[in-house]
Amino acid sequence: MLLSVENLDVCYGHAQVLHGVSMHLNEGELVCVVGRNGAGKTSLLRTIGGFMKPAGGTVDFDGQRIDGQPLEQVALSGLKYVYQDKRVFGELTVRENIELAAYPTQVGLDEAIAKVVDIHPKMNKLLDAKAKGLSGGERQILLIGRALIGDPKLLLIDEPTEGLAAIIIGEIINILAAMKSKITMVVVEQNLATVSRLADRVYVMKEGVFSREITDAASIADPSTYEDEL
């Protein structure tokens, strides 16, 4: 088992947003977490990623407990996070953004650039552009590509298609689908069409708990079977 979350409680001050959440992830799986705004999906992902300390429960990744560990150690353990807000380092060029991600993973710059260009060849022409000038879709691709540098074991992706044009959403889905067999992923997503195309398993989150786990492919492929629960 690559990731094991047990009885996770997460609070913002006195307000508890996650109540004893447990989830497990095997190597090579793509698991989607769906739910309404405010259900606690992003809080779950941020806690697994080490951005938030849980009030209770544990997060084990690749055989090691990572909750409460410094953020940089969590990142170096092979877990990468792609943010919901699509914010890159805007004052840096695309090349510098890639270089920044390459150094701690000890990957050469050329290899790191190749990794990003591999998932989106057009990025080759944008290497010397300031990242703040990229479109939302290009930023998302840069963030995903940057996260892939160093071959992480687990990718946490928060709302990858949110706020993007339909044509870009298609491209992002294709990129994630191509990555699916190569890397384990947890994807928080509200777009059920995306979920139905990508997920091996689906967790439905409601008011800080998982209300249902969907495992059979037929149900996942038909979002109408679980959209009422959102």
Binding site: G49, G50, F51, P70, L71, E72, V74, A75, L76, K80, Y81, Y83, R87, F89, G90, E91, L92, E96, E99, L100, A101, Y103, P104, T105
Partner: protein, 306 residues
Amino acid sequence: MFSKIEKSPILTLALVTVLFLLYGYATSLPKITDFIIFCIFVIGFDLLYGHMGQLSFGHMLYLGAGAYGCGMFAYHVYPDPFLSILVGVLLGAALAALLGTVVVKTSAAAFALLNLALNEVGAYLALSPLHEWTGGEDGLSLFFESYGWVDFNDSTFRFYFCLGALLLVILVVTAFVRSPYGILLKSIKENETRVKFLGYNTFVYKYVTFIISGAIVGFAGALTSVNLAYCNTSLIAPTRNVEVIFAALMGGAGTVLGAVVGGTAFMTISNYLASYIVRWEMFLGVALLAFAFWFRKGIWGYARKL
């Protein structure tokens, strides 16, 4: 045009040299030597503020450390100017290394105010408990050995020496901020949490930068002692921190040439405006408001687009 100059180190150094030579010979070499040293101070300060995004209200402490390190060595040990300057630089860096272990763990207002508090402590130590070493309120009058034409008692030599020092600092800091390390500093300024999640221990990088900043500011302090041939508590006074902050804002924080432009502009205003207007600080205050609200990029920030 200016952005092309900025991109070329040779053109940058040539421009700074020519402008300071013209300014020096058109006005007064000793006065412009003060300006040059202040520019080094602003560059050191801006490494933290403009490049890394941490505003210190207490960098006069490191100027004072450099000034007193240089002055006390020359006064109590041996008046060799080069050794004295080296001691000043090392004391600035060592103090930054010591205090940085605590200060660098803070950020934003806590960082600014903790630096100010430490500056107050340092100024008090120099004034009273350590007065036997520092000369207290009277300070120390200094004399430096001469070696042939290397004569720090000669104001023309001091001018050229300090100009050379400024060019060296510009060259080194420019290379530093353009290196991958500089890219990392810029990223920390934008979003430190995300830099951490790329796998960087940001404390280490911030700490090293704090020490480098302390060393550069200490260098400026040591040069001040050598240039003035004395050091006293005005060189560590916390009330003077506003000068360097203002200069960095006015020139354009986050660019090495902006620090030079800001340092020169501030010194020009404070030296020449004071001759004509008694309450010149009032105009400086109005100018500061204008830069803070309407001209955030500073003089160089706009000039480089021409």
